[in-house]
Amino acid sequence: MTEANLLQKYASEVFAGLVAPVAEGLQVSAAPAADPLVKEDVLVRMERELKHALEKPASERRWVMVIDLRRCVGCHACTVACVAENKLPPGVVYRPVMTEEVGTYPNVTMKFLPRPCMQCENAPCTPVCPVTATYHNEEGIVVVDYEQCIGCRACMAACPYGARTFDFGYHYTEGLPVFDGAVIGGKTAAEYEHISQEYGQAWERQGRHESPIGNVRKCHFCLHRIKDGVLPACTTTCIGRATYFGDANDPDSLVTELINKPNVIRLKEELGTEPRVYYIV
């Protein structure tokens, strides 16, 4: 083996070991390749497992998200990716990252808590909806039917995680200068911004009253991406590989492996909501 070949083979591994020291075991155990020194990225593994899960009937999947709080660096990339993916308007957020400063100088540290919708199995938000506009779909994800929602916000009041926001009809492109005939400018930007593709459907957010304006909105684990075998935007964008997604009904999946560890918690578990989002602490 030449020196060049040796470097090519092991340098990436050394680098991976530096940036992800706490993920020992995860990548190695997932590696399907014959060469034990070639590690499979968790994203590749999760995407493979996602496609495998999609081969099963929808009701047999149990999507869960696992967030490793030890690896979250508070970069908010997941928040921004979610906003971009779902074209969320101003004032609507599905996955904020809570930041907490802990300790006193000089012993100070920051703690970060990404908070998507918990997709609770015993969701307090669904039974309070007067018109069944929010419910568990066949895969167990809590969704909102924008054409059904009357905008009473009872689900928002009932959610103990504050995971729902209301679409008041704002646009980022409001007030931008318009350059007629150009591919830039307010009009072009607005045309892009005003059409959202959530739930696999084009939603034109026009005027002040067209759904999803006047509706409650929430994280849906990027169902439109999952359907096509693509991981949620927050998962693929996480620079620290702190967010994992997959089918907890698959005993061999990465998420099953993770949620069976003892250092896993769920938020406000005492409320009996049975969240599908787990945190590694």
Binding site: G91, V92, C152, A157, G169, Y170
Partner: protein, 376 residues
Amino acid sequence: MIKKISYAIGALTLAFGLWGVYVRLFEGEQSANYGSYIIWGLWVAMYLFLAGLAAGAYMLAAFDYLFNVPQFKGTGKTMLWAALVTLPAGLASIGMDLGHMERIWKVYLEPNFTSFLTLMVWGYTLFLILIVISLYLAFKAPEKAAMKAVMWIGFVVAILVAGGVGFLLGGNAARLYWHVGLFPVQFPVFAIASGAGLMLMLVGWFMPDMDKTQRSNLLWLLAIISIATSAAKLYFVVADFTQSLYGGVTDNLIAVNYVLNGPQAFTFWGVQIVLGLLIPVIVLAQPKLAKNGFVAGLMGLFLLIGYAAGRLLIVVPGQVAEMMPGQAAAFTGPKLDITYTPSLMEWSVTSAVIGFSILAILIGMDRIVRFKEVKK
């Protein structure tokens, strides 16, 4: 004179309110100050207040038609009419709060009966129908058994819908300040208290033609009811707050401090306690003052303002504690605040609701009197 002033105030408040209604209907909810963290604001509070007022008015009408309390004789129609006005007014207030109010029909045709909101909508619809039937029978056959039967059903439904509002908030385990087991018990008391306040106004200011002795006795009885219910309300508030402070649960501490020392301190101490409770109780405890129509009416008004403030101080503080610590700072944008003061548009819409109620009650009372005269 008071009636003319009241008509003028009703017309002015309605006129000011039409601007807010226009803005809400045609420009949406952006100019409201409630948002994604303070979810329910002034309009929800006014719904609680007005719907409670309707239930209370109906209960007091039952004092005439059901329980035959002599002091209440001849006042039933007026109170039924007041219930018929204030219930739709309250529903209009909550209707304006809906993001898609044009879809309200779905609650009837595609209801989800596990939702307490659905049960309340259906309950209020039933209550409204019962008020209409009661009023019809009050004119056509007040002495018949049908009237008694309808009034009994209506009386029970009034208690249930009033208590139901308490459950609507109290059943929400996510909001500890609301999650009080006694809420469904407290709200019917609030309802009858506000009904008595309204009746003090109506009898004291707008029913001078009543028999002088009966009117005097009725005002005194309403004063006693008001004092008793005010004392009960004060006891509930003190019990809730001391329990919350003693228990020391963070969300409750945030909410109670918000009321006692925070941005709503004046609304609580100044409006709810001093104006809406202490002054009326002290004044109404004097028989001579309580039997004075003008004074009694004024105290009734103070009581109602206090009760309305009380509803706001139930709705808003229950939402000021962040569901997740750091939530409000995690992502910035419009309507992602944890503070709330009603906007001018919200006040304007409430002004329309109040103006409508004042005018409708007065016009109805005048017509009820005219009906009486026609009958004579």
